[in-house]
């Protein structure tokens, strides 16, 4: 054994020399977001939030003294996601941030996990492959689609219907959703919650985004005598569906949508009075979170981000921008500094034990991931979500939960 000792020592020394030669002191992370295509505007907003978080952390000493550099590979559609992730994996990044859209998130997460890289989702809420969840390499910072759907049903049952003098147990619920990973993710949360609360489910109406015919779809909803309509749609189809509902005078007690349409300013702009009285279950925007209700550190980060974002991009921080900023800040502030090395395995271990209370991040979230063995393994179980209401034409307000509310719930008649 003594004979081999010097060889081992030499090898260790030489390897140390080589490693020292490679270290530049900078941490490079990958990013995959849509910057064009139908989801380009929202994807860019989220990416800008991510960039601001890196800039903020670098301006405050970096990650244990090391600056963070981001390397973006755009993916404007699901087709491009796998190639974008592969290109970043070839750059030897240990972690890839993404991806705004659920249809991009799923193949990006699949590819990252198969290549042994950590995938850190900052915005998308849709379904993830259960096998990918078991990899321990995929983490989702924002609320899952299922939890947004659950929140919509709970809000209806606990608060909205009683205010509207309707007994939830006697009210007929319907779920209409775009039949893809986003729609399936959110609607499953809605349907599970309706069943769990023993509420009457009048019908479920999936539709294909490319072939949907709104008159037919709305006729089916009307025939099912739905009173509370829960909607999971993108912008174009959400607007098309709503216009047809108005046209056919479908008598609804309430209607709640989710992210990607009902919560967006463009939705209210396109529908004007037809949007008033509708609700949306989604992530909070930058301008509705009260910094005073956050931890001092998170509040300071939010104030800086709002100011810088407005100055740089000419508008307020959208929900996408805020979740991009908060999700990246959470990673750089609470996960990477506790990872002993920057290998994907070490980052994954650090993420799995992170425990940050609610209100400690700029969007009001906390950070703790569901462990393996759960159906939602890798999802942030302390992700913040809110309920928006269109309180008048082109004006929306957060009405729930009370810690985020900027206005009280105003049960308004819908057209």
């Amino acid at each position: 054994m003594k004979k081999f000792a010097p060889f081992v020592a030499l090898l260790v020394l030489a390897t140390a020399c080589a490693t020292g030669a490679r270290s530049t002191g900078r941490i490079t992370l990958g990013a995959v977001y849509p910057t064009g295509g139908g989801q380009g505007p929202g994807g860019l907003d989220e990416w800008h939030g991510v960039q601001l978080a890196a800039e903020y952390v670098n301006g405050h000493g970096g990650v244990l003294g090391r600056d963070v550099q981001l390397n973006l590979q755009p993916a404007d559609s699901s087709d491009q996601a796998a190639r974008a992730v592969t290109a970043l994996a070839n750059e030897n990044v240990p972690l890839i941030l993404g991806s705004y859209g659920s249809t991009i998130s799923r193949p990006a997460a699949d590819t990252a996990a198969s290549l042994g890289k950590v995938f850190w989702e900052t915005g998308a809420v849709g379904l993830l492959d259960p096998q990918v969840r078991r990899s321990n390499l995929v983490f989702r910072f924002p609320p899952s689609g299922g939890s947004l759907g659950t929140a919509a049903v709970k809000f209806s049952n606990d608060l909205l219907l009683p205010k509207l003098h309707h007994i939830p147990a006697n009210t007929r619920f319907g779920v209409v959703y775009v039949d893809d990973v986003y729609g399936q993710g959110v609607s499953s949360g809605m349907i599970d919650q309706i069943n769990a609360m023993h509420l009457p489910l009048a019908g479920v109406f999936p539709y294909n985004l490319q072939t949907v015919r709104y008159p037919d779809l709305v006729r089916r909803i009307r025939a099912a005598r739905v009173q509370v309509l829960l909607v999971v749609a993108y912008m174009d189809d959400g607007i098309g569906l709503r216009k047809e509902m108005v046209k056919q005078h479908v008598p609804l007690v309430a209607s709640i949508g989710t992210s990607s349409s009902y919560c967006m300013p463009g939705f209210g702009k396109a529908l004007d009075a037809a949007a008033v009285g509708l609700y949306a279950s989604d992530k909070p925007d930058g301008d509705v979170v009260n910094p005073a209700r956050l931890s001092p550190e998170a509040g300071a980060a939010l104030v800086w981000a709002r100011t810088t974002f407005r100055k740089r991009y000419g508008h307020e921080m959208s929900a996408a921008a805020l979740t991009g900023f908060s999700g990246t800040w959470a990673l750089l502030r609470f996960v990477l500094p506790t990872a002993p090395t920057l290998s994907p395995a070490a980052i994954s271990r650090a993420a799995r034990v992170v425990n940050v209370p609610m209100g400690s991040l700029p969007n009001g979230s906390g950070l703790a991931f569901a462990p393996q063995g759960n159906f939602n393994a890798g999802d942030n179980i302390r992700a913040a979500s809110v309920i928006w209401e269109w309180v008048k034409e082109y004006t929306r307000a957060v009405v729930w939960p009370p810690s985020f509310a900027t206005s009280q719930v105003k049960p308004l008649p819908i057209i």
């Binding site: 010097p6 020394l13 030489a14 139908g38 491009q80 702009k269």
Partner: protein, 291 residues
């Protein structure tokens, strides 16, 4: 054909161009899309998908349509594939009338571009190729398009070909014989489309820069050199230390010899088998780097 029909055709074509340009972020009038956050584009449908997309691929659709034509004029007309991955748009009078022909039939057929021709130099195909054919009826002869010089701004007499791309197409090509001819084109990135005007029909394909697998991984040459230099330095240091130790030992032995009488050194006795074995054993036990 009545002036009313011509006027309505021109109005439709003009409206299409205006709306398209206003909607396309990279259009002639740079602006935002009509509104933010439309739905995601559906996955591209491949004739021959790349390996990473083969599992979820759906076969692409073809498209066809027939429109009546007059003895002197033809109407504005367009045909899409059912999956909206390819379209061809004819302006009013976009085909040359032919006596006795009452209609034209247009077909769009997806093809694997690799089976058609080699990709344009330095570029990769981005999506399927599409064979776009139009024939007079009842004769079945290929239609003639007015022989005008087509450019991006001259859509009046040229056919407009629109192809959806999958990744990042930057150019549109038409197959002339066995080689590709570039068609002046413009991208509509919000729709992931590329479109251009042409005075010939045939096979069209979009192409873009090579992106498969992304950039090459960083070279490890620096690390290998550093490793080698470190190893050589350590070996050289060890060698020097050994030489020095050897010299010291010899000097010490020489010093011992000088302290005694100046007798000639004793003649070396012949080493016996036993001694030789013991010496070898000692040498084996002693590490090589020690003297």
């Amino acid at each position: 054909m009545s002036w009313k029909r011509i006027a309505s055709g021109v109005a439709i074509a003009a409206l299409y161009v205006v709306v398209a340009q206003l909607s396309f972020r990279d259009g002639l009038v740079p602006t935002k899309p009509l509104y933010d956050g439309t739905g995601p584009p559906p996955p591209y449908r491949w004739v021959n998908p790349p390996p990473e997309l083969a599992k979820t691929n759906t076969k692409p659709s073809s498209g066809s349509g027939t429109t009546p034509i007059g003895p002197k004029h033809s109407p504005a007309y367009n045909v899409n594939t059912d999956d909206a991955q390819a379209s061809v748009i004819f302006p009013p009078d976009g085909i040359v009338p032919m006596p006795g022909q009452t209609s034209m039939k247009i077909t769009l057929t997806p093809l694997d571009p690799a089976t058609v021709a080699s990709s344009p130099p330095g570029l990769d195909y981005d999506g399927n190729a599409y064979k776009i054919m139009a024939v007079y009826q009842p004769s079945g002869k290929p239609v003639d398009i007015p022989n005008v010089v087509c450019s991006l701004t001259n859509a009046n007499a040229c056919a407009t070909v629109v192809l959806r791309y999958a990744f990042n197409a930057t150019k549109l090509y038409r197959l002339d014989g066995t080689s590709w001819t570039e068609v002046p084109s413009q991208r509509a990135t919000s729709a992931l489309q590329i479109y251009g005007n042409t005075n010939k029909l045939g096979v069209f394909a979009a192409a873009g820069p090579h992106v498969v697998g992304g950039k090459k991984p960083k070279s490890q040459t620096g690390n290998i050199i550093a490793f080698a230099v470190g190893l050589v330095a350590i070996l050289f240091g060890t060698f020097l230390a050994r030489v020095r130790a050897s010299r010291k030992r010899r000097a010490r032995e020489a010093g011992k010899g000088q302290k005694g009488s100046k007798k000639a050194p004793p003649k070396a006795q012949k080493e016996g088998t036993k001694e030789r074995r013991q010496r070898r054993k000692d040498e084996e036990q002693k590490p090589w780097w020690r003297d």
